[in-house]
Subunit: 349 residues, 2 copies
DNA sequence: TGGGGTGATGTAATCGTTTAACTTCGCAAT
DNA sequence: ATTGCGAAGTTAAACGATTACATCACCCCA
């Protein structure tokens, strides 16, 4: 504010008033101030404003949790670790609207946040954020580029290092081993004795491509590639269901399906149910994520669990310790329920 | 801080140092300061501290949404309305630990928050909060006491006023019409021609009791009371499932079930599936909430939708406008899917 | 010629903490 | 006696904005 004032040869009081469009300030001055403020990227300090005005524009919200899905669990992990370290998380849900992302960043900059975590997908924010000098960590990023230092974390302990990964310098990545999960799910099915497969693909983001790759690798190793892949690019349940329904029309049981994630698997179960395919007799399904719901689908969903809480917690650590690994990879774990079985001899449909 | 300093006849600098346990301050003084600080309920100003130190202990978190369950949707409603009005929500998930509730309040007080919203259940916070002079609104409170002014909001518009309700002066309540939802669900089943019912009760909180009451009222009016009620006091899926499984063992189809909420209904569907009961042929199930998942259970769940987003938005308004109604009630809406049908003549199990 | 009004801006205090730099005091060593 | 030194505080500036009050130039009208 001082800078803006100095540049125009006026007092900070004038600037303050001009920015509030106080009619006491001449129009010419107001415009000049607005122009300079924009040019020098003036950003008001929320702290100073609050201190002076004693009004914070803050609404406290207390709740138990924030849902049992993938993001909810990650958020809980972030929150609990952040508080352990004396930090206060400031959440911003974009509701899928890209325009809100920059708005989120703007809010954070005014709050003088210096650490930012994003839970993918969330487009450009991370890059804008590093440009502003923030320390940023991305959980399950959508992007990929070669990395310099990677730590692979297997169920609890740091273990190895490998060159698979993605990183813009300055952005820390915390990621689930999507490729491994795809393989794990697929291998489980091949070992069960399945020969006829199908993969229900997710949207065109990293995690989806890697899971597909895992599916492919596992099948190639088993000598079963190629096998069909269903595309439902939009994360919209209807389109997933439709894709599965179309496929089931032309296929013969038994089939083993690897779904992009638990929600996709749920859509598949729904489609199967409607098409009269029995699970797991006609169709084995395995998901990825292990959301709370997965235990209560009919039948219970076999899935590769993602360490969601831990992803959140590690992101906090990554963003706070400047020297942490660029990329941290966490392994999934197979959770076997009732949606999978060995292929049955073709029974009555 | 000035007060503490004055009371002890020392400078604020000393107090500041003493509170950080700076060894430059004599032990005696440190203890004295700590004691007085506690007595006068000294609460540091986060804003001032940030302004001075330029370190905010804030971590920005960006994500798409926060889950598709009941709370996630409410939270989205809160956030979007708050931002529209230029407010910044500060979320705190207690993860069910009651001790964290006071901690949440403590954080908010340091942030000089003056408006608080809680999404039930969340025990004592609201009362502590009013004691501290905050304006508080509770969404779907667990408690009940006579109210002075109620507004009933039916699908969009404020319409009537009635004397059913709960309010500690100073606490605004935004609530879903649980009783009405219970009735609506039940009546739908009676009109379908069902004669044999069962209700799967939720935990011992207001919403659960009211839904049960609605079930009872509707059946009484239809001349069908009494009918069984299953109790699964803990919001634990296992116990719900077990209760349903036990019941199905001794019952004869067709049965019509009103579940406490969608998650309970899911547990019921799961139990039914395992017990070999067909839905909806043997068992009709209706839930309450309409979480995103409800559309994808097998079969799709008929449910009474709660206007979740709106509950959140209205809570923001309530907390910001001091003169709003003490209690606002929102109506549910029946969403018909495939988990319900007219009772069938007893088919083969 | 002066009094008063008005429009545009400046001055300076203030919000609650932190912290660099300084003071004060008692005591020991010279 | 003087000096030096550490312990225990104090003083005051600073953080970045807001705002009551003061100032100033200029014009209008008597």
């Amino acid at each position: 504010m001082k800078d803006v004032a100095a540049e125009l040869g006026v007092s900070t009081a004038t600037v303050s008033r001009a920015l509030k469009d106080d009619p006491a300030i001449s129009l010419a001055t107001r415009q000049a101030v607005a122009e300079v403020a924009l040019r020098v990227q003036y950003r008001p300090s929320a702290a100073a404003r609050r201190l002076r005005t004693k009004s914070t524009s803050l609404i406290g919200v207390v709740m138990q949790s924030v849902g049992d899905g993938y993001i909810g669990a990650v958020v809980l992990g972030i929150q609990s670790r952040a508080r352990e370290l004396g930090y206060q998380p400031l959440f911003f849900a974009t509701e899928g609207r890209t325009d809100l992302e920059s708005q989120a960043l703007e809010v954070f900059l005014s709050e003088q946040v210096t650490e930012l975590i994003t839970v993918s997908p969330s487009a450009g924010v991370p890059h804008q954020a590093v440009a502003e000098g923030l320390h940023v960590a991305v959980i399950n990023s959508d992007e990929a580029v070669p990395a310099r230092r990677i730590e692979r974390v297997a169920t609890g302990k740091v273990s190895a290092v490998g060159p698979v990964w993605a990183a813009e310098p300055m952005i820390k990545h915390i990621a689930f081993d999507d490729l491994g999960a795809g393989r794990l799910a697929t291998t489980y099915l091949t070992e069960l004795g399945h020969r006829s497969f199908v993969h229900l693909r997710g949207p065109n983001v990293r995690s989806s491509l890697l899971r597909l790759l895992g599916y492919r690798q596992a099948l190639t190793e088993a000598g079963l590639w190629p096998q069909p892949v269903l595309t439902a690019a939009e994360p919209v349940m209807q389109s997933r269901e439709a894709a599965v329904a179309d496929f089931l029309n032309t296929a013969e049981p038994p089939v083993a399906m690897v779904a992009y994630d638990d929600m996709s698997a749920v859509a598949a179960l729904h489609a199967a149910h409607r098409a009269g395919w029995r699970v797991p007799e006609d169709l084995s399904v395995v998901g990825i994520d292990d959301i709370q719901f997965a235990a209560y689908t009919n039948p219970g969903l076999t899935t590769v669990a993602q360490p969601k809480h831990r992803l959140g917690a590690l992101a906090v650590d990554a963003v706070l310790e400047r020297d942490a690994a660029e990329v941290t990879v966490l392994d999934g774990e197979l959770v076997i329920r009732e949606s999978t079985s060995a292929p049955t001899s073709r029974g009555p449909r």
